[in-house]
């Protein structure tokens, strides 16, 4: 038994106090001072989370707020579980926030110093969200995260687009929050508990329509955040308009936290509910995952606004992570978390790089950027490395995650799933490559364009100074470097595998929450599967390069060889889906809600 660290609440408390501090002296602090304070506080949070991680690696612990430990089987207060996964997510959140704040240092618009406190609140919410084991507390942090995100998304008030984007974002995500709250109310009425362990204990194997419906509401709510088809419509709008630094956090972690929450609830609350219906649950989640990969991949290649393209790429990769979640084995889960970690950094780097392009070249549309980036050698290196990373090719960590997911799929005799991953990697990588070839090399003829790319975006930085500073470049470079380093030293895999074995075992988690006693888990490794996966990754990258070339050099090709140009035009129905109308988005949310609740009540009964 490991006593919980008294520092456990600090990843939430420190940024919150810091946010209040900066906001209090907002008008008296100049830009540099406010930025420095923000960076220092994010760094402090990172240091605290790292020390918590070091302890969590030695064993999980449970922390009770206000000293309200459970009495008998009844949990009185709110608990945090400090396991390597939750704390690891907190470390990831603080790293990305730190990078974003460093990148935003002095140059980008800070909305009269409102930006730094909101970022810190966002950080605190993400940390709390990953650590809590109380469903209502989860909802509170979900809402805190959303509120800060809505505000940050609309930071650039000089154009109308950010306001519409964040309006759509806010409406859909608020509905999601109420879906979650409704589900919490239903679960509370039959179990009389808010702690996940206690709810799981009380539910047992019960699976009447009520439990299934509550489950459907919960996953719908979190899938809105995770941008799973058909709940994904808000995400490109929000990403295309949010400041670069905020996009890094949205795409890197916020979206994936939705999937993390589903994983946590599925294993802690509904583990036994579906014991006899694994196959059907897998069917529902995997079909959603495949649909998300397809839609995300196809739309990603069809976009010509850099950030929108990256947003669809996030949707595509969220779909791949949902595949892992759908498989539902500890091995797949471990693969998912590795994938999440790697994707966060690679996507972060790509967003930082697109921000650099906006800063240097004052444009974000592919046509406007055409052949303008020939001198930006280092930036282009980052961009192409990012493309390699997205294809899940070595030496990036993404390949390790993909290997885990593929091995898990093989074990359930669904080896074809790894080809879905290849498709996702190929499409997203190809889109990045195409834009890179156009922008940095000026190859091919003038690129085609679309409506959002022409609307474009106002630059975030002042006009006079257009140099790239080291503090802008360093976060982007570090984001590329970290997944390589992590892939090179696989020592931490053992810890993660053990943590996933504990995470996915309801009995162990119940034991942990009620007694605080640590049981270590064990899970065999998947490194042998890495070779095939690396091969697939290179294959995906080669295909991506081919696809991008058929798009860039379309004039040199026969008409029937222009695959890339064909895909670039985009599938019309998918484009129409993305109408920017809040009513349409809510309608699609309702359709998904109705379908999922019908599917779970009828299929899983």
């Amino acid at each position: 038994m490991i006593a919980p660290s008294p520092l456990t609440p600090l990843p939430i408390a420190v940024p919150l106090v810091g946010a209040a501090l900066i906001a209090c002296f907002r008008k008296w602090l100049n830009r540099t001072a406010a930025d420095t304070l923000g960076i220092l506080l994010a760094a402090a949070t990172l240091a605290i989370s790292c020390s918590l991680l070091a302890r969590a690696v030695r064993g999980n612990s449970v922390y009770w707020f206000g000293n309200w430990a459970p009495r008998g089987s009844i949990v009185l207060g709110i608990g945090f579980v400090a396991d390597p996964i939750g704390v690891g997510l907190a470390v990831l959140a603080s790293t990305l926030t730190l990078f974003s704040l460093v990148y935003a240092w002095r140059l980008t618009d800070s909305g009269s110093n409102h930006f730094q406190p909101l970022m810190l609140i966002f950080l605190a919410a993400m940390c709390g969200f990953s650590l809590t084991v109380d469903v209502f507390n989860l909802f509170v942090f979900f809402e805190l995260m959303s509120t800060a995100a809505f505000a940050l998304c609309g930071l650039k008030t000089k154009e109308p687009a950010p306001l519409q984007g964040s309006f759509n974002f806010a409406v859909t995500n608020t509905i999601a929050a109420f879906l979650i709250l409704t589900s919490i109310g239903l679960l509370y009425s039959i179990t009389g508990a808010l702690n996940m362990a206690q709810i799981g204990l009380a539910l047992g194997t019960r699976h009447d329509p009520l439990v299934l419906f509550a489950f459907a509401l919960l996953i719908c709510g979190f899938f809105v955040k995770a941008a799973i088809v058909p709940f994904h419509l808000w995400l490109p709008d929000a990403h295309a308009v949010a400041p670069t630094t905020v996009c890094v956090l949205f795409s890197g972690l916020m979206v994936q936290l939705g999937l993390f929450a589903v994983a946590r609830l599925r294993f802690m609350i509904f583990a036994q509910t579906f014991a006899s219906h694994e196959a059907f649950l897998r069917l529902i989640l995997l079909s959603l995952g495949v649909a998300t990969v397809l839609v995300g991949g196809l739309m990603c290649y069809a976009e010509h606004h850099l950030k929108r393209m990256l947003a669809f790429s996030t949707i595509c990769h969220a779909g791949i992570m949902l595949l892992a979640l759908g498989l539902g084995t500890p091995l797949a889960l471990a693969g998912m978390f590795v994938y999440l970690l790697a994707h966060a950094f690679i996507k972060g780097s790509l967003f930082f790089t697109s921000g650099l392009l906006l800063h240097r070249l004052r444009a974000i549309g592919e046509r406007a950027l055409f052949a303008k980036g020939k001198e930006l050698r280092w930036t282009s290196a980052l961009w192409f490395l990012g493309a390699l990373g997205l294809a899940a090719a070595p030496p990036f960590l993404l390949v390790t995650g993909e290997a885990g997911i593929s091995k898990a799929a093989e074990e359930i005799s669904m080896p074809w799933l790894s080809w879905v991953c290849v498709f996702g990697g190929m499409m997203t990588s190809a889109a990045v490559l195409r834009i890179g070839m156009h922008t940095f090399f000026g190859w091919g003829s003038e690129p085609v364009t679309d409506e959002p790319a022409e609307v474009g975006e106002l630059p975030e930085t002042a006009k006079e100074d257009r140099r790239t500073y080291w503090y802008q470049f360093a976060p982007a470079a570090l984001c590329i470097l970290i997944p390589v380093v992590l892939a090179a030293m696989p020592g931490w895999h053992r810890v993660l595998r053990g943590a996933c074995a504990v995470f996915s075992s309801q009995a162990t988690m119940l034991h942990l929450v009620y007694t605080g006693a640590t049981v270590s888990g064990h899970l065999s490794g998947w490194l042998p599967a890495l070779k095939a996966s690396a091969l697939r990754g290179f294959c995906a990258f080669a295909l991506a390069a081919l696809l991008a070339s058929t798009s860039v050099f379309k004039l040199h090709l026969k008409r029937n060889m222009r695959f890339g140009a064909f895909l670039e035009a985009g599938l019309r129905p998918l484009r129409i889906l993305q109408s920017g109308h809040p009513g349409d988005y809510v309608l699609w949310l309702t359709i998904g809600l109705a379908t999922l609740s019908a599917a779970s009540v009828l299929l899983l009964k």
């Binding site: 209090c24 409102h114 009540v601």
Partner: protein, 249 residues
């Protein structure tokens, strides 16, 4: 999609959703037969353990105080968000389009009756806030009531007195201090070697205004924050109308 199509499609799928909502609700325990155990346990122990007669506030500010911390920061983040969205950039030039003229000074009768009403509202707000742990109410409700005072002044007196109260940077600082000190109370218990947000003050006599330890303290912090928060939001919306200055296009 056209509106008619959208609405029709909605009725189909919304209907399916509503059907499953009601279908699954049949499995709920019938209305009026709450079975516990969480709420019953708290209702039984909160008076003895926390010397607070209002168990809802004992939950909000003690048993589940961490939720309320999150909740207060949701409010705080939203106020920051509203001020940021409606901010005026330093480089923007403004032009005056003429403010809304102050109405005729209200008749003496109205003012002599309005002023006591306002004073009464202040007293009521403080009463609600101070007795949070004993009777229904607490910092949040008191904050909203107190925040209504400047708006009442705006209605009965003039825009100038409203502006004098709300436009200060101090209001912003109070908002931040209220939220921040809630988190600091939590940190204080950490410094004293107890878990975060423990109730470390003496609990006092049940039924007293100064009882139940940190519950009253937290309630006060929230009161300050909420009052300031609603004033800031109100002023952010009203600023243009009061000053009559809008940014140049």
């Amino acid at each position: 999609m056209r509106e008619k199509v959208r609405t029709r499609v909605f009725f189909i799928f919304g209907g399916i959703f509503l059907f499953f909502f009601c279908y699954s609700a049949i499995d709920l325990p019938p209305w009026g037969s709450y079975r516990g155990p969480y709420g019953d346990v708290i209702a039984r122990v909160s008076v003895y353990e926390r010397h607070a007669t209002d168990s809802v506030n004992a939950i909000n500010y003690d048993y589940r105080a961490f939720d309320t911390l999150g909740e207060e920061f949701i409010l705080f983040a939203a106020v920051l968000g509203v001020m940021m969205l409606l901010r005026r950039d330093e480089d923007e030039t403004t032009r005056n389009v003429g403010k809304v003229e102050d109405r005729h000074p209200l008749s003496t009768t109205v003012r002599t009756t309005a002023m006591p009403a306002i004073a009464l509202t202040v007293v009521f707000g403080f009463y609600i806030g101070l007795h949070g742990q004993l009777t229904p109410g607490g910092g949040f409700q008191a904050g909203v009531i107190l925040a209504s005072v400047p708006f009442l002044l705006y209605v009965c007196e003039n825009t100038e007195s409203f502006r004098r109260i709300t436009s200060h940077t101090t209001v912003e600082a109070i908002d931040a201090l209220g939220a921040g000190s809630y988190a600091l109370i939590g940190l204080a218990s950490l410094v004293l070697g107890m878990p975060f947000l423990s109730n470390f003050l003496p609990l006092g006599t049940t039924g007293n205004v100064f009882s139940s330890g940190t519950i009253a303290l937290i309630s006060a912090c929230i009161g300050f924050e909420v009052t300031a928060a609603f004033l800031l939001v109100g002023y952010a919306y009203l600023e243009e109308i009061i000053t009559g200055e809008i940014p140049e296009d």
